[in-house]
Symmetry: C2
Subunit: 116 residues, 2 copies
């Protein structure tokens, strides 16, 4: 019956895990954030915006790629609330949504021991 040498301990952990598992909806929300910042091209946009707000033209200049591709990526980052946008005349000016964004990036970079 025992499936492993730690049946009692692991079973309790599994029960606790089920009891404390976040709701599907919250898992999906967290997942969406990580997915948004998991593409290299989107990561580069976030790294670029560390320097301050920029309009699309200059983001393209900073990260490369086509205007269309960057614009699609900006939408995904915006939908997942990692960046915010404001219109300024003909331009849309983007910036990081809040201090959490940089904090997450820095935490992972620390974890990986890579300087950014």
């Amino acid at each position: 019956m025992a499936v492993c040498d730690h049946e009692e301990q692991h079973h309790l952990a599994a029960e606790a895990a089920k009891a404390n598992m976040p709701q599907e909806e919250d898992v999906a929300r967290v997942s969406a954030v990580f997915k948004a910042i998991s593409e290299p091209s989107r990561l580069k946009i976030l790294f670029a915006l560390r320097q301050g707000e920029m309009c699309v033209y200059h983001i393209v200049e900073a990260v490369g790629g086509t205007q269309s591709a960057v614009s699609h990526q900006l939408r995904i980052l915006r939908d997942s609330r990692m960046i915010k946008a404001r219109r300024d005349g003909q331009n849309i000016v983007y910036s990081l949504a809040d201090e959490h964004v940089l904090a997450v990036l820095e935490l992972v970079c620390t974890h990986l021991n890579c300087k950014i």
Copy 2:
């Protein structure tokens, strides 16, 4: 010539962004970490392991799905160093790799204002 009303400011930011952009390799490493924890099924495994180490059988019990699917996900999490494994007799016992893993999860949950 000016592409936006903040040409000077944005151009400087873009130049700084290019100068401070992490190397492709580092972007890829950071990207890989976020990708690893961006799938709902893998996120659930991490949430489950908050309760302590568990063998595969009990992880399956905690998060659902088939043994094979969970095993594939465990490999991805392991390859990206989010979890670690040790053999214990017939079982492989998994646990979170270090305190950074939970810290990142909690940071994002705080950002989203969802309790986990």
